[in-house]
């Protein structure tokens, strides 16, 4: 279990994180999303005990993580900007990891090297970006971490490798109840894999929820009335509204039955309700729902 309580961090007077809370349950796959500069990487570095908080606490299994070696031995981390010793190849790096992480699994390492078809003898600095990511993934997963923290793990990977990476992650979650915290901008991919989602905005946690619950609480509806009432959407939490001819397109944050009750009370001629994708939730929740931004994104 990873728990962050009212974390605060400033860099040279710039407040990067303020009053931030995060809860990752054991055995869950938690997706961290947010705009550029929202503080995802800073938060992740705190969770890994790399940065020291100005205020607040970061607890892994109830214990502060900073400089806590027994916990950190059981945590795997793949940063966005990878680092390898400049002259090392994969084999030498594996030897180094083995000396640091007590749960190192040599069999898995060999198996993965074979499966990813990487050359153990070639210098890591000569690898392409995607191959370096794969190397980092092999090294981290061979440490058999109980907590896996990934910062933008899949960009730069081809679809086949991506599938393989997720397969390994899901397998470890299923078999060993590994806990995963993953940040990404690829919302479609996160949507398919995560059970919980945290949306970060300007150094604060905006929404933190079970993904299915989040999705069951926000709807896109298309509706048209023959004789529209003055305000047919009274009592509904309308995030976004757009009119196309006689048809209204709305994004509403309410429970499904509440929406149905309110709309049906006004006898609509057209009434369609669709669940939103994570990508749409992200855009509307972070205020990008207006036309200008929308036309750039789509």
């Amino acid at each position: 279990m990873i728990k962050v309580n009212s974390l605060e961090k400033s860099f040279d007077g710039f407040k990067a994180l303020s009053d931030l809370n995060l809860n990752v349950k054991k055995g869950s796959i938690y997706g961290l999303v947010g705009t550029n500069g929202a503080g995802k990487t800073t938060l992740i570095k705190h969770v890994m005990g790399i940065l020291k908080p100005d205020r607040g606490e970061i607890l892994v299994e109830g214990i502060p993580v900073f400089e806590n070696i027994p916990i950190k031995e059981r945590m795997g981390y793949i940063p966005d900007d990878l680092y390898f010793f400049s002259t090392y190849n994969l084999k030498e790096s594996a030897k180094f990891y083995r000396s640091v992480y007590p749960n190192w699994n040599q069999d898995r390492y060999h198996h993965m090297v074979k499966q990813f078809e990487l050359n153990e003898k070639r210098k890591l600095s000569k690898f392409s970006k995607g191959m370096q990511k794969q190397a980092a993934f092999i090294l981290t997963m061979s440490c058999m971490p109980d907590y896996l923290v990934l910062d933008e793990p899949i960009d730069g990977l081809d679809p086949i490798i991506r599938k393989l990476v997720w397969k390994y992650i899901v397998e470890d979650v299923a078999e060993r109840e590994m806990t995963v915290l993953v940040s990404s901008h690829n919302l479609r991919e996160l949507e398919g894999i995560c059970d919980s989602i945290g949306i970060l905005s300007k150094g604060k946690m905006m929404i933190e929820r079970d993904l299915d619950e989040l999705k069951s609480d926000i709807h896109k509806i298309q509706v048209a009335f023959k004789n529209p009432a003055a305000d047919p959407y009274q009592g509904l939490n309308v995030l976004h509204r757009e009119t196309r001819g006689t048809v209204d397109l709305l994004i509403i944050r309410n429970r499904k039955d509440t929406v149905e009750d309110v709309i049906n009370a006004n006898h609509p001629v057209i009434f369609d309700m669709l669940p939103l994708s994570l990508e749409e939730i992200f855009i509307y929740e972070l205020g990008g729902g207006d036309h200008e931004i929308e036309s750039i994104i789509f």
């Binding site: 055995g27 869950s28 796959i29 599938k163 997720w166 397969k167 899901v170 397998e171 979650v173 299923a174 078999e175 479609r188 398919g192 894999i193 995560c194 059970d195 993904l211 299915d212 999705k215 669709l274 669940p275 994708s277």
Partner: protein
């Protein structure tokens, strides 16, 4: 066993519930058949085990499957299925829509009746299955 559509607007959780039900209703999975464990299914589909767990819990709640601790998860016998009136009225609503569409397409009422009778005929063996 079944495929998931990652592009669908339906959540993976709903897709698993619906797919399982379909397999059970179509008779591909029969009463007392063992279904894959959460871990197995999670690995074959590359889906978060927590999602599968939740889908199984829902299926169990709706009476389609049952779990014996230590042994696994099994398909429940259809006789034990509770009748969900709320869902029945939903399906009835869909049927009403479908009939309206057939009328739009120019079918006569008699023709629609024949169509429905044909469809019912396809399921005529259902009563023998113990329900």
């Amino acid at each position: 066993m079944f495929q998931l559509d990652l592009k669908s607007r339906k959540s993976i959780y709903e897709q698993i519930v619906d797919n399982m039900k379909e397999l059970i209703i179509a008779g591909m999975l029969r009463a007392e058949d063992k279904i894959p464990s959460v871990r197995e299914l999670s690995k074959t589909l590359t889906v978060n085990p927590n999602t599968i767990q939740k889908a199984y819990r829902e299926l169990e709640y709706q009476g389609y499957i049952y779990t014996v601790p230590g042994l696994g998860t099994f398909v429940a016998s259809p006789a034990g299925l509770p009748v969900d009136e709320k869902r029945i009225s939903l399906v009835k609503e869909q049927l009403r829509e479908n009939i309206r569409e057939l009328l739009y397409l120019g079918c006569s009422l008699d023709r629609i009746k024949t169509i429905i009778a044909e469809l019912l005929e396809e399921r005529s063996d259902w009563n023998d299955k113990g329900k």
